[in-house]
Amino acid sequence: MEKKTVLTKIGIPRAMSYYNNFLFYYGFFKSLGVEVVLSDKTTTATINEGTKYVVSDTCFPIKVYAGHVINLLNKGCDVIFVPSIQSTGYKVNNCSKIRGLPEIIRNIINRPFIMIEPTLDKTENIGLYDFCKNTACQLGITDTKEIKKAMDAGWEMYNSFMEMTKSGISYNEALNNALNGKFVKKSVDIVKPLSVVIMAHGYNLFDERISLNLIKKLEKMGVKVYTSLNISREQQQEALKKLGEIQYWANELELTGCAAHYLLNKKVDGIIALSAFGCGPDSLMVDEISHHCKEKGMPLIHLTIDEHTGEAGFITRIEAFVDMLMRKKRNTLIQNAKPKAKADIINIKKEKILTGSAK
């Protein structure tokens, strides 16, 4: 019997599920002995390239994804990993565009290339093991033991990455540490005058071009930023339950779960929602959270991004929001202070807060 040729190189586009699951993929493929090739970081050229291929109504992240696939093909990598994540729980489905990612890529790009397209669909009982096995089979590896070992290796990398981010290390730092096999934990939490939580999908938030470096911009203004990576999935699920909502979308926890957690423990002063223009699920999730925010008196700003987002207008809106939070916090501090020591506290707090202001 002729043996199937084993592919030794696989390209992963730096978009969509890369931002949440890359370390699992990396550990998995490395253990199988497959070399991983990444596309370059998103630039305006990537976006323009991707926009050429898809119809105009398609949402921004998909355009970026197409750009990354083209980038990989230009690099000479003709085996591309395009997973279809249909559902992550019983009746917890993903957005149609993520579910149909391989279908879109197959039909819009008219170049010869091999697409590795496993399916994860827990509603139809196709679990993670089947997902991994399918991937490996398409690569030409059929040894069950090896696949199981590779899955463990993937989990190990993913978990160490998650542990690091949970302790408060930034995304890029944690990614580099995990790739180099290091494990670093932050023990001291830096206290800043203001803190916000950003509710956004990983592929929007951690892509520095798409989010226009939102996290760094906020940190420059002296704002502590929490993201969905700072808390565990279980915490997110629990918080969502407490809020009385049901998880409907597969990647919903990044937004609603994360926002619900910080909304309930009152650790933050405001919520920033970042979503791509025309994103169907996001429009519902942000609405859901803004409903609860209104009840609890938590400020929320909804930023929408697309390929035309001007950076200047974006900064102005964030600055205005941060200024507003600052004023709100100052007022509540003054009101809560005891009348006796009021004058002193005003002076002290004013100084403290103003030093960390945006200006």
């Binding site: 391989p102 279908e103 609405d287």
Partner: protein, 382 residues
């Protein structure tokens, strides 16, 4: 969760006798559903047909990013509640698209606006005959099996009759000698179907419709281009939303064929799969779409692709694909369609509809497309 639900039920306790039921409009579903619910002994309110006024009401009270069908559904609910309804019905199919979120959102919005009502949800995930019956029982508390038999057979027979009338209308309209005959006949039968009240008469409806349409004088030898209408379910069935595209096309002398019919879909959804012997529309679509799509991704995406391939192989001249703005499954379909169109050699026109679509520009595009099809026909004839 359960205790919460019980509490909610206590809050709005409506006796079965006092129930006045309403549901959102979609195509001609109101006639069969009315027959069914009324024979179970409940009162019914039918919201007025979708119009600019309804759309405005819906847009004003819903969020920006939601799709067009929701806005119209919400307006239907509000209008029905204003008319005195106190029980709302809606079906949902989790996992398809944003449709699964409709009821949750509508409930929240309406409660915020101060309406008091009870919402009954039909969960249509895979065939669920038992659940549907339970929901009807919850609404009407009707225990008489004869009523159920009467209701369902009335409903289904009316539905089949209406769908037959619609199919015949599509065939007759471009060929009729006296303009407007087919349209008149169709409306006449809609009215008769609505008024029919006995199972015996309802069973005869379909035959009578066919006979009546045969009487309309038509030009049988006329060469008529055939166009498939595909796309999103709601937009296809609702004449207001699609700007009555079927009529416009028919008057241009084009035979419209629509594969998504309400009765087919309902039969497929309700009947347990063991009783379903012939190949359903969906199965056929999955088979034909295999070359382009390997998995279903929710909504009507796979139907759209499958129908296009099927049409190309069965002598159809063109495809018009309509979808509401920002409909997720249809955007995926739009991305795939150019390749299908090229490979299968069939022209495709994609139209995206939203609340601002101007009719003039819309008609121009359709006219241009029909011209293209006619020229193509001449080219192949030579």
């Amino acid at each position: 969760m359960e205790t919460e639900q019980k509490l909610a039920e206590k809050e709005i306790k409506i006796r079965a006798k006092d129930r006045i039921i309403a549901w959102p409009r979609m195509g001609r579903i109101d006639i069969p559903l009315k027959a069914l619910v009324q024979s179970l002994g409940a009162k019914v309110v039918i919201p007025p047909a979708n119009s600019n006024e309804a759309l405005e009401l819906g847009v004003r009270n819903s969020i920006e990013g939601i799709c067009l069908p929701y806005k119209l559904n919400l307006a239907n609910y509000m209008m029905a509640l204003d008319k005195g309804a106190n029980t709302l019905m809606m079906f949902q199919a989790p996992g398809s698209c944003r449709l699964g979120n409709y009821t949750k959102m509508a409930q929240k919005t309406l409660k915020q606006m101060g309406y008091k009502f009870d919402m009954v949800i039909f969960d249509m995930y895979k065939s669920k005959m038992v659940q549907t019956l339970q929901a009807f029982w919850h609404v009407t508390h009707c225990l008489n099996p004869y009523c159920y038999y009467k209701g369902f057979s009335l409903g289904f027979n009316k539905l089949f009759a209406i769908d037959t009338a619609e199919r015949l209308l599509f065939y007759t309209r471009p060929r009729e000698l006296n303009k407007g005959d087919a349209e008149k006949c169709y409306h006449k039968w809609l009215k008769i179907a609505d008024e029919t009240n006995s199972v015996r008469k309802a069973k005869r409806l379909k035959k009578q419709v066919i006979e009546d349409f045969k009487k309309i004088p038509i030009d049988k030898d006329k060469k008529v281009p055939k166009v498939y209408l595909i796309g999103e379910f709601f937009v296809l069935l609702d004449p207001y939303t699609n700007q009555n595209i079927e009529k416009e096309l028919g008057e241009m002398g084009v035979e419209v064929q629509r594969q998504i019919m309400f009765s087919d879909w309902l039969e497929h959804v309700l009947k347990p799969s063991i009783f379903y012997k012939k190949e359903s529309h969906r199965e056929r679509c999955v088979k034909y779409a295999k070359k382009y799509m390997k998995r279903a991704i929710g909504g009507e995406c796979i139907e759209t692709i499958g129908d296009t391939v099927y049409a190309a192989k069965h002598g159809i001249d063109g495809i018009i694909h309509i979808s509401p703005f920002s409909c997720m499954p249809e955007i995926v379909a739009q991305n795939i369609l150019p390749k299908v169109s090229k490979n299968e050699n069939i022209p495709v026109l994609s139209l995206v509809l939203d609340e601002q679509t101007g009719k003039a520009g819309y008609i121009t595009r359709i006219e241009a497309f029909i011209d293209l099809i006619k020229r193509r026909q001449q080219k192949y004839a030579i």
